[in-house]
Symmetry: C2
Subunit: 336 residues, 2 copies
Amino acid sequence: MVKITDVARHAGVSPSTVSYALSGKRPISEETRQRIEASIRELGYRPHAGARALASSRSNVLALVIPLRAGIHVPVVMQFAVSVVTAARRHDHDVLLLTQEEGEEGLRRVADTALVDALIVMDVQLHDPRLPLLRSLDRPSVMIGFPQEPAGLTCIDLDFMAAGELCVERLAGLGHRVVALVGSPPEVYVRETAFAQRVVQGFTAAADRNGLTSSIHPCEAAPAAARRVAEQLLREQPALTGVVVHNEAILEPLIDAFEQLGLRVPGDLSITAICPDELAESLRVPVTSIALPSTELGARAVELLMKKLGGAAVPEATLLPPRLTERASTAPRDTP
Amino acid sequence: MVKITDVARHAGVSPSTVSYALSGKRPISEETRQRIEASIRELGYRPHAGARALASSRSNVLALVIPLRAGIHVPVVMQFAVSVVTAARRHDHDVLLLTQEEGEEGLRRVADTALVDALIVMDVQLHDPRLPLLRSLDRPSVMIGFPQEPAGLTCIDLDFMAAGELCVERLAGLGHRVVALVGSPPEVYVRETAFAQRVVQGFTAAADRNGLTSSIHPCEAAPAAARRVAEQLLREQPALTGVVVHNEAILEPLIDAFEQLGLRVPGDLSITAICPDELAESLRVPVTSIALPSTELGARAVELLMKKLGGAAVPEATLLPPRLTERASTAPRDTP
DNA sequence: TTGAAAGCGCTAACAT
DNA sequence: ATGTTAGCGCTTTCAA
């Protein structure tokens, strides 16, 4: 193995000069830098990550905790993870993958052993048991999602309340007077995942503000459940003309169910969704939707961590504004 | 930060004794071990990962390279990744996530800097540019998938050829005489991903062996493409009664298309698929399928790496035998 | 069964 | 602008 002393000898400088040339933490004359870089290339030198971490107390590794529970949409998690890795690499960091399953002990372990410098935690719940731990760790962290009590933590997410509102406002603007929200599976609400409830809040607030008749319908992530919800809606809300869907898994089956029940989209029923753009675009009837910006979230989360690692202050809360893309599933209400 | 010398002092032993108590690399008297463990708990000691890596030249981290290209089924990748992390943790290892995008340079970097002890590479192609690199690295690796020239490498995968055969054998056993394979998107074949071609080989061989009429149909991962393939099949192969599907994304749309074209499954058409069990189970017509054993693959890949890290020899090739689960999409041919 | 001590390869004061 | 050197915290010979 070629080490920094080898490079130093080869370039005729001291080890520290090589180190500083690599880190840029102090000025090096153009000439020596050239020589050092040539030696590095020639010898194929690679700094030893462990030695670096030990000497600098920086591992240049971030921990990413991914969820694997029911009711989460896998492609979104994946896209987020890829985005985190990509963004981390831009800052010369790597990403260690942890599963939710490892729990608090896993977080504590990688933080306390100095295996990672900072942590990103996905799928945060309103009363997440990891909150006190994250507050107590000596390493910075960013949470994707908002807990009830975010004080002292850094959180980022799509503004789901605004997203719920925006969906309704759009439907209201098109003249719809009776709307329904088809939401996440019941267990998502039961475990008090903040984002699901925030959509409900926004949806309800905007519906009330616009004087709309509204109702909420959690829905399992199965086509049969979508079908049941569709039937129930037609039965209980015959005047329904606007639906907001916040459940990736049943978006397609739900539209199918409506159409099989004789409702045309968007002729009889306008639909807006909160889901990844790729999903909204790919459906038979492309759906007007608010994007789940997983790529942006991942990148922004890493930026926040880098700032914190650099000693800079960052806002406790970052809410990404919803952006609605008009597609084929919405139309003005057919006023008789 | 509490370090090993603190623990040693607190327990009244030398640092090396603490180290050995932790690693188990030499016998420690029950009594001292107790004392050391008590001290560790009391002080909340956690060995510094970097220091450990430096002194032992073992980071206890594995690299996992995940693909992110078109034509791969995201949930399978995710399930595999989770399984790798879980298995790695059982062996006291962590997992560093790399994207395919980082390419060979990424692999070389994490290996040469000693950030990782070993590597797992997914989505291997027949002539994968990473092969020479992996052979040259001084760290063990396992590839998921089989390249053309696997000599000197360790590979593991589902036996896709046997899977293709098994699907056909099953259909033949049910009396079907004209069968078709609806395969992966064309780009998957173009980039010569081994597994897709192996299914074709197995399918064709078994069809020929059984004297069946057979045809191959790559298919894009879009419902419209599935529809087109269905129409084409009915047009060109009116006697078709058996279909093998090796394309997760269009399994459902393809069945829908067949049924919309007037063919009942399994009444008029029997279908077998190679796909994750969860997908096969969840369809409106549960599909007889050969499981894509991502969880087992992940675990087995880690086991192989651990053996190699332990200095043991492992087989160059590991093929997991296909297991077919009978569901509702297959029936004996309706012989008139 | 245990201890002493020499590194592992790098960074960052402290020098000059 | 560069060199010297003392650690970073652990593992592992070598010795007893």
